[in-house]
Symmetry: D5
Subunit: 129 residues, 10 copies
């Protein structure tokens, strides 16, 4: 059986369909529901799992070309949280924009992975290289 990395069949199947220029949403527990977007809901409860649990499993196997995040993230979180995200982002180009702009990217995404993350504005849109 698979030994490491992402073990969830539906998550694996979804990320294998996300290719060049396609985008994927990694959503926190409170992100609106978008019935028109294929959603893999692996949330259990508030805080389990987190957005970075997902991102940190993706980066070794899935080449991300760009990340979008709401700029409100910076002022609603502690420096520790901001740093923690930055560490996971590594060298991937990052664009912060108003949350209202950020949400306009969602309808074009190939899918959305819902987590239980309770970080304010913790949602990410990632674009495949």
């Amino acid at each position: 059986m698979l030994q490491t990395g992402i073990l969830n069949p539906h998550v694996l199947e979804l990320i294998a369909r996300v290719r060049h220029t396609n985008t994927l949403v990694i959503a926190d527990w409170a992100f609106p529901y978008w019935p028109e977007i294929e959603t893999v809901d692996i949330s259990l409860t508030k805080g389990i799992p987190t957005v970075l649990d997902v991102l940190d499993l993706l980066t070794p196997v899935f080449k991300i070309g760009r990340i979008w995040q709401a700029e409100e993230f910076l002022i609603t979180n502690t420096p520790e949280t901001v740093d923690r995200f930055a560490k996971s982002f590594g060298g991937i180009p990052l664009t912060r924009e108003a949350h209202v702009e950020f949400k306009k990217r969602v309808p074009d995404a190939i899918g959305l992975i819902r987590t239980g993350d309770a970080t304010p504005y913790g949602n990410l849109v990632i674009e495949s290289v």
Copy 2:
């Protein structure tokens, strides 16, 4: 939106169908796949989430009448892990039996929640009062 406890739509829907005398499996990352059992897979990776993450969210809202666990659990885990499970079991009647017997209960279950738990023999069968 729902504020606490289980947030996952499919998990909620499943546990609402489990009633008097019905059983439910909470499976670790390695538990065999049973195609004939409705499965909600909320595993992300090894260790996320755990069987007790699920059990601890169930006990406040879902009255469990009995728990089964493989007796091999006792000898393959540290006393700390055994204690951690015991704490979550609380006063719920517990039956330990050989893993080979334990697995015979699975085909009668209403559903199975797959976690990423890496505890050896971490699987549980719970029976509703």
Copy 3:
């Protein structure tokens, strides 16, 4: 098994998908059918269950940010009924508007729970915080 609160699997599954800024309709027995909206029909007969049966079960677990109601509700019901609804609304911000405006909110809702409530203009649109 689940002991209190909402027991219906489909209702639970629906409300777990309604998140930040999403809306939900709680409809009385006569509210038009909207084929394009996911509908959970738990009506049995005229009067069973009521809109407030549903609302009173939601408020302890589901944080509502705002409620809309047709303003015609005020003039077609007795003060006792108006008070009864007000009690259930508690401190949740409430907007009353013409029924014709109220109905324009329905196509954007994530789902609709149909009751058997016979209160004139008893329908509610609730928005998640």
Copy 4:
């Protein structure tokens, strides 16, 4: 629109398929889930609606030839409850038997209507004339 009696589309559709000698289960909130039986779940919460809410709507339009009930019903309920059920049963032939026997009838039923009824042993199996 339909004015009286049963308003629920799925309940109506189900009872229209139950014909001569077919049986139907009206289940209380705690009755086990039987995945192999078509189930219409109109439970909202404990007590809403009741088994007799359903039965009293059926008897005027649906000719019942026989009712089965667990005999444990008699000793776990107050005389008032027993009388209340008797009133709804009217002149329909009634068979009480051990709950363990009663449950053996379920796999042959055409469908099951789940209520929120909290009456101990409140479940009924009804057979169409």
Copy 5:
């Protein structure tokens, strides 16, 4: 089992979904097929059953607020047929309009019941109160 009135499971299920201001088409044998409209086809052959077979079963249980009919109905049928329809319409408000206008109402209907009726322009659109 159901004793009188409409016995067809699909017809019952459909009319239970038609509520305040929703419309329903009762079509004759020749009415165009509208793939986008939910259709219950209970036609057997030319003349079985008729539009009035359906209407006469609906009016005792389903409150109709308004009926539309093609005005061509008046000149293509005998006075006896016109009287027969009028008797079934009773006091329900009736609007006759050009068939080409009448057909524009179909896409907004919740459903269509196809009969075998051979009455020229025998089709009806009914609106629920």
Copy 6:
């Protein structure tokens, strides 16, 4: 469009699948529901349509090799009804047997057409040549 004979799409599709030695049930309004048999329900109400409405449309196009009927039919109906059926049977070989035996043929049928016929023991099993 089709001008005569059977107009119902589902009935036509079913009878086109019934071939050499296959059987088909034409059921009255009260015949038990058999979930495991493909059922085309064209019943509207008690008496519409009848079993002979269906049979008389089948015989010109569908070659029947044999008909089974419950022998109870003979003693529960008037001579006029018996004659009416005999006329429709024509020269097709007919076997009457106890209703309890007749019902054992149903699980092997390819399909069942449900009518609204109220003739006691009006059900037929027909076998294709």
Copy 7:
């Protein structure tokens, strides 16, 4: 079993849904695929069956009000082929138009029957009376 005429269950089911003013395409082997049109593909190989195999089975039972054909048919086929089609058309009103116009009728058709016919521009659109 059915003895003559069209024996294919899906073809029969489709033509029973085509009614007054609805159109149907009978396509040759090369006609473009239209994913949005219900297609019954009874082609086996080039030449089996032909468009006229289908048309000649339809005309005795299905009243056609009008036929459209590409005008290119006239110049790409032999007089014998043109005559053969004319014989099958009989007295049904026929409109020939440029193929590019002809194809614009397809999206409005109720269905398409694909044959293996290799006649250049052999496709037909037929409209029910």
Copy 8:
């Protein structure tokens, strides 16, 4: 587009799934319907297409290891018909057996292609090498 041989998408898809030791039925117009067998119905009418139309398209691309046929075929057909089949069988090993035995092979087949062939006992079971 495909130029020669089998053009039917469903037939192609089926034969691509029939592999070593799997069997396939090529059925005449009258062969019983077997609901449990995947059926591709390309029959149009009696005689179109034939069993040999299918077989002759299969043999160039699909290696057949063995053919079964009912022995009744020999005495119910003319020598010309028997010869015509023999020519199509070529050197493929052929087993003739009583029709009642032949039919026992059907439930193990991967699929059934229904033709309109009117040859008595014209059905074949073919086994892939």
Copy 9:
């Protein structure tokens, strides 16, 4: 069983539906995912299979009228690769255009076959004669 050429059931079924003027995409491993296009994914890993593996199997049986390719293909590949593609294209008319223009053809395609080909700009759109 099928002996040569394309063996994949889904690929065969798809190409049998692509007819005159319809287009098909043969995509490399990185081509964006288009949820609205029927996709047959036969990729295994980077390099298996290739776009030319597919094309070379298509050309003997499927008549291609025209091929489109991104003009970026010419400058991002070695002369050997360009020659290798040219050899497979043979005499089929070829149009090279900017990749951004090339991608606009995708939404009109009947389907997309995804390979594992790692050739930069290796994607093709083929149009059936």
Copy 10:
């Protein structure tokens, strides 16, 4: 997007469901079709891809506890082929048994990946640790 290893969404989803003691079939081009087994068909043509293409991608990420192979493999292949397989098997325990025994393992498998491999007796059953 995923960069290395298995890229096929369905293959990834399947192997993520194969866990402790579950088995998976990797089949060559000729292996019988088992309708009751979930099948991912990535065959393109004879030889593309191979069984070892799949196995070699699995072993780095999927821990195999045991491999079964038909013993006929040894005598129908060259030493080079036998060596090539042995190299891919590495240290995984291997059981060779008669093909007729080997095939009895298939109905218990969780899934089957069909390749185009033309190696005689090239099929494998792998069991997860």
